[in-house]
């Protein structure tokens, strides 16, 4: 048994720690990402975070299995559907596809960037310069707005570039909400007006609460054919604050009454504006005249070529309206500087290709080194060190929850490249035939290695600030990887090499 040095032990311990942090997961099944709270699935007890194992006793391993198991919907009659999760079994009676979204169980703690996992990214520039508290306000409102809209897995942070521009960076992993642009870049100024007078606006000051996800006070009311397609109308109830209700009473008390076929209404309508555009005009029934009423029904519509399109459009605009009513308008005018929505399907292809590439790189480097040194032991020591370096870098990335995008991974591979370079320097110095002591030769090797280390750090450092930090990942993984190299793997490698030469 070879006695291991302390440096080799450190390497082994850090490798084990990295494995624990990355935490590979081999469980099968699909994880529930969201459950519509108005659905039978929700009533049955399904919640996000549960792991679906089987549906109607068919095993569910992939997204394909999932869609196959639910292919029967929509059915005419309500049918029984048994969904088994890791913890329990749920039975639903339904004639439509259960309103749940599912995803693969993440196989590791590694997080991948948008260009690999898919998702959306927006870089928003406020008009004019904002102070830090102002920017934080903007971020708070935007976060709330996206949360109210139903998006929870989001990262929003302020970022700035070398020229002093400040931005708000929004990243949504794995989802591409179609309304993102409107949600994050439109101010979302909601106003309800009678004539020229504002009755209430969106936000906490005027709106006490908004009914949503409750079929008794919010939902699609009716759908019917109109010229060129279909139209669906939605309605939902909002509760006004007392101030706003009083304002409503004051304004309506001055209005006259019109008699129409459908009934008696006030002679002016309640006009709903979103970002200064008229969304809908509502008749005000006679009995509301001058009354302090806190409950108001908001209505609107959506159109589409088919009934389904119209239904979805109506639902979306209802959701949007509810969102801005709750959160109020964004305090600043905003401009979209960058907006990327990346489809997740291509990323899968890329992941496989990058893995294949990594194997090819390992093979190519092994062959070159073996041809040169003709020693299996030395070659495998280099390859093992190279692998350790990449693995520990991934471990650190998982630890700091870094989103690995394609440039980050390129940084890891390039870092492995410098690692191999350094090991070649160590090997050549240690086997060199010159007469200086081994210690002196290793010292010289480390002078070269430390020099190379600092030059690469110096070269990558500016990327932390340039370009709103979008290439920070590339710099970060390179720097982590070369630092791991110089602090952990290189000293261990020098010791391993000594052992190999002694034996």
């Amino acid at each position: 048994m070879v006695k291991l040095t302390i440096r080799i032990w450190i390497l082994i311990i850090i490798l084990v720690l990295s494995l624990l942090v990355i935490k590979p997961n081999f469980e099968s099944g699909l994880i529930i990402k969201s459950v519509d709270s108005n659905s039978t699935a929700f009533e049955a007890g399904l919640r996000s975070g549960q792991v679906i194992k089987s549906i109607d006793s068919q095993e569910i391993k992939s997204m394909e299995d999932f869609s196959k198991a639910l292919a029967q919907f929509p059915t005419k009659e309500k049918t029984k559907l048994i969904i088994t999760t890791k913890e329990a079994t749920y039975t639903l009676f339904t004639n439509e596809t259960p309103k749940i979204t599912v995803g693969q169980i993440p196989s590791t703690n590694l997080k991948f960037g948008l260009d690999i996992a898919g998702g959306s990214r927006a870089l928003i520039k406020p008009e004019g310069e904002l102070s830090t508290p102002e920017l934080n306000d903007l971020i708070a409102v935007t976060t709330e707005r996206l949360n109210v809209y139903g998006l929870t897995d989001i990262i929003i942070r302020p970022t700035s570039d070398l020229s002093g521009n400040t931005y708000m960076l929004i990243e949504i992993a794995g989802a591409n909400p179609s309304e993102l642009e409107e949600l994050v870049a439109k101010q979302g100024k909601f106003e309800a007006k009678i004539g020229n007078e504002t009755v209430f606006v969106g936000g906490k000051k005027d709106i006490a609460s908004v009914c949503r996800n409750d079929a008794s006070c919010s939902g699609i009311e009716s759908c019917y054919a109109v010229q060129g397609g279909e139209l669906c109308r939605f309605r939902f109830v909002v509760h006004l604050s007392e101030d706003a209700a009083k304002r409503h009473a004051d304004i309506t008390s001055k209005l006259g009454v019109n008699t129409t076929e459908e009934g008696r209404y006030l002679d002016q309508k309640l006009d709903l504006y979103l970002d200064d555009k008229l969304v809908d005009s509502l008749f005000i029934s006679e009995e509301l005249k001058g009354r302090v009423t806190t409950q108001i029904q908001i209505q609107g519509s959506g159109t589409g070529a088919s009934r389904e399109d119209a239904f979805n459009a109506a639902q979306k605009s209802m959701q949007k309206l509810q969102t801005v009513l709750i959160t109020g308008s964004l305090p600043y005018k905003l401009e979209i500087a960058k907006l990327d929505t990346i489809s997740p399907s291509l990323g899968k292809e890329f992941t496989t290709n990058i893995l294949v590439l990594a194997l090819v790189v390992f093979a190519a480097v092994s062959i070159v080194l073996f041809v040169k040194y003709r020693k299996i032991k030395i070659t495998s020591a280099v390859i093992l060190t190279m692998f350790s370096e990449a693995f520990i870098t991934l471990g650190i990335a998982a630890l700091i929850k870094w989103n690995l995008d394609a440039p980050s991974i390129a940084g890891i591979i390039a870092g492995m490249g410098t690692g191999v370079n350094d090991q070649i320097v160590i090997i050549d110095e240690s086997v060199s035939t010159d007469l200086s002591s081994l210690k002196e030769r290793i010292k010289r090797a480390f002078f070269i290695i430390v020099g190379a280390f600092f030059t690469i750090i110096a070269a990558m450092l500016p990327l932390f600030w340039a370009g709103a930090g979008l290439l920070r990942g590339f710099a970060l993984t390179t720097i982590i990887s070369v630092s791991v190299g110089i602090l952990v793997t290189r000293p261990a490698f020098a010791d391993i090499l000594k052992k190999i030469q002694q034996s």
């Binding site: 960058k338 489809s343 294949v356 110096a458 390179t478």
Partner: protein
Amino acid sequence: MEEIKKTESKSWYNKWYKILFAIPIIIMVLSLIYLGIFYSKHNDFMYRDVSLSGGTTITLNGNVDSAEFESSLKQNFPDVAFRKLTDLRTGEPIALMVESSSAPEELKPAVEKILGYNLTSDNSSVEFTGATLSQGFYKQLIYALIASFILMSIVIFVMFRTFVPSAAVIFAAFGDIVMALAAVDYLGIKLSAAGIAAFLMLIGYSVDTDILLTTRALKKKQGTLNERIYGAFKTGILMTGTALAAVIPVLFLMGSLPDSFKQIFLILALGLFADILNTWLTNAGIIKWYCDKKGID
């Protein structure tokens, strides 16, 4: 026998190193002239992709019948450019990238109209960068490149503390960038932000061998100068060789990788090739001349 060969090679290098030194210098001058002409033509040192010039990239998943699609889209968007992504194993097209300086609001409906279906996040990706932001990005990345070069130079000066050897290393790194950039321009590659980041990495990466050479030539005591340079060359060429062995496979998988990956590895490959010349002909030549002058042997 060995001894004679060694002495022969020694005198050979003594005689020829100045001529060898001229080779990379000529290539560097040609590259600089090429870049100068390029600049006067395009008012810029490189072609930029939409992430650095502003515009939209739409990536259509699947095998899109491209010929017809491309010609009809070109009628409305003359500046549009196309690239295919292929499957690694089968070589089948897996996606088509459409790039234009237009905004997504204009490009997307036009693409949808020709394809006859709506673009969703299941069948496509849309990336948009505003013109002001991309201009800012570009400027900052160029500043970052300059900052990176200066920081690297400082590290080199701190390491060697003598002017000529340090300057030689920095000059070699400069040569790598100039040659790689000229090659990228010549190949007509449109650089993205990741591409410029690759140049920063090249600055840090390519000086490894120069540091090795300079350390061995100046700090090692055993052997003659030529032997030391030759020893460094043997180690250094293996370093660059393995790096190229790692980078070159990527070039064959180009169609199947994310764009940022392709650019980073292509630029590193070009830079490493240039580095062979700049380290072992330029830098070695200067070190040899410097040591001869100083009487270091």
